[in-house]
Amino acid sequence: MKQVLTRRECLFLLAKVAGGSAAMMQAASGLGVEQPASTFQYKPLYKVPGKRPHVLILGAGISALVSAYELTRAGYTCEILEASHRVGGRNLTVRHGDLIDEIGNRQICDFDDQPNLYFNCGPARLPAHHHGIMHYCKELKVPLQMFCNYNRNCYTQDDVCFDGEPVRIGDYETDIMGFTSEIIAKSMTTAGHLDSPVGEADFERIVEYVKVQGDLNDAMEYHGSGRSGFASGGVFAPGELKPTRDFADLLNSNFWAGAMQFMHIADQAPAMMTPVGGMDSIVKHFLPHVQKLITLNAQVQMVELLDNGVEVAYVHQGITKVARGDYCLNSIPSEILSGIENNFPADYSEKMAMMKRDKLIKFGFQARERFWEKEDIYAGISWTNQDITQIWYPEHGTFSEKGVLLGGYSWEPEIVDRFAAMSPEARIETAISQGEKVHPNYRQYIEKGVSICWHRMNHMLGCGTYWTPEIYDAAFATLQAPAKRHYLIGDQIALLPAWQEGAVQSAWHAMLDIQQRESARSATKT
């Protein structure tokens, strides 16, 4: 009897078939092996006993906002030093007039001044099981709406098949599942079942399963399915099935190996949520509680660990200042922190330098007309093998005059490097011309665009930290633990790269450790 493939073996095969590219590996992780469960359960910090410890928080992204919000409620005093001109970190939503502070390429977002014309440059979606960030959306009353990651009316476009023409995802998936199910059913009903690991009764159930999965006829053949909609009819006359696509073409496409599995990744699976009016609604809802604690344009120059605290030198409006905390929660991106003078233990510094960060670019385009609605698309993602990789359609502003769509989202380093090297105008032009492969009339609708190249963004220099198993084993525990009274926080110190959940949980990990130290301190006093 043949061995049943383990999940890990399946993963290996999938990665091999997909050519081992980073994107496909990412998709492959969707089989559920690598997804950490969210263990977040909200329980407020204890009121800190006795003297109110002062906590210095570096950076003003989600991890910092969560920390300041919780610590002040528990009686600590906090101050937040933020190097950039704004609060939110990579939670960045741009609208009319906003600065996109890319080093060497400052852009001002020139979208029309309309409330529905915004673009989420960083995080854009909230998985239901990210209990930490969802807790704060609930607690702070951040209005949420559905986010659509998967829409069968969107397109897949691949130069190697269907003459490069875009194909509706629904058509593609129905046909490839039909044809593959037919082959599986045929091989099972001939000699295949001799090797089957299950008994006769179960075996029949499996054959039936395959039939249902592919929408096969009673002869176990696939000749098209109404699942992809009808070519004609269906209202007053019986529906005519669409002609099926060529099986060889379906297989030639890489869609099945990566993008088709995307919605099976736990963190990307429907149904997802997003804040109404832009992801920065989360930041705006934190602000009333913490705004007075924040100093913007405060660039840290030195971090010094002391025995009983942490001292920081920073420059604010050209003046050097010093701040001191009993504790320091530091969300400065590891790569930038490595260039800031410090007296971290050698081991801590060495391991911090091992952290590698992803490169990622996103395009936001303003369309003069919501052309996608005329194609039965009201949200979701189209996929292409062009460098732009994806086009997202907004789930908000339906039937309004204009809309902002995502004109490209690339995370392969070579692709991002190609875009990064271009002038801002050339980036937009390239992304539009690639988008024309998905929507032939694309160009006539796109009025304006911005590009956000995260590894060049001032005070960011990257996106999520990419923890390889080797780097994780070597460095994570050391960096998650405090160095004296200094704690690294942010999504960088969680295995959820670029997810706000990582930021929330990293903050809690540090705060619980501080709470324990404070409890121990007050216990020894009494």
């Binding site: 190097a83 950039s84 001109h85 080093i103 060497g104 390429n105 400052r106 913007l296 344009n297 405060a298 660039q299 840290v300 120059q301 030195m302 010094e304 001292e311 030198a313 920073y314 420059v315 604010h316 409006q317 050209g318 003046i319 050097t320 010093v322 590891s334 790569e335 930038i336 490595s338 260039g339 800031i340 003078e341 330098a353 952290m355 380093p413 490097d417 190609r418 990064a420 090297a421 590894h455 060049r456 001032n458 005070h459 220099l461």
Partner: protein, 205 residues
């Protein structure tokens, strides 16, 4: 507390640093990649600028602007720098030079384990241009190398060898260096020289 040396300078320079060239804190954007004291940051592959004189930085910013550096598709970090060089106005460039000139030079942290004494021997054939202790020679347009990041010396020597730097016809100084790298034969030689240069006690100007 130990106040970093650069901080005094920042305070004195702030009035001259225009917002356009700088972060809104008053510091030039250089420090985000090159480090708070522009002493170099291996993690983002940004070299030590604190040891470099204004004339050399000017020449290299121009080299980026002319596409004499960073042309090769594999040099993503150099392309990042090229974008900055292209975006700087003349006034901003002056402000950056002023800032870097005022920063106290410091040696980069060593990251490689080359044979320093062998590197020193090999360097004797470089010293005619770069100076006895790699202090640089403005007349010959040879930059100081003492205290430079060892990994950066390695990457640049390899870039010259691979025709990724010094290739442009008009880049006469780059041409000169490109033809000189043949003096260093093996990978080990390059490593040794880099470790030696990193280890030299620095003097600026």
């Amino acid at each position: 507390m130990r106040l970093p040396t650069l901080i005094f300078l920042v305070t004195s320079l702030c009035s001259t640093l225009a917002l356009a060239a700088s972060n809104t804190s008053g510091l030039p954007s250089c420090v985000v990649c090159h480090g708070a004291g522009v002493q170099g940051n291996i993690v983002v592959q940004a070299p030590n600028l604190s040891i470099l004189p204004a004339w050399y930085i000017t020449a290299q910013l121009e080299a980026y602007q002319h596409n004499w550096r960073g042309e090769d598709a594999s040099l993503a970090d150099a392309k990042d720098m090229r974008a900055v060089a292209l975006a700087l106005s003349d006034k901003e460039r002056e402000q950056v030079l002023e800032f870097i000139s005022a920063v106290t030079p410091q040696s980069a942290k060593p990251s490689l384990m080359g044979d320093i004494s062998h590197g020193q021997q090999l360097f004797s054939s470089c010293s005619a241009c770069h100076g006895d202790v790699a202090q640089g020679n403005e007349a010959l347009k040879a930059p100081p190398l003492a205290g430079q990041n060892d990994w950066y010396i390695v990457s640049q020597l390899k870039a010259y060898q691979a025709n990724q730097r010094g290739y442009a016809k008009k880049d006469s100084n780059g041409n000169m260096m490109r033809s000189s790298v043949s003096l260093l034969g093996s990978e080990q030689d390059i490593l040794d020289v880099a470790s030696y240069l990193n280890s030299i006690e620095i003097s600026k100007e």
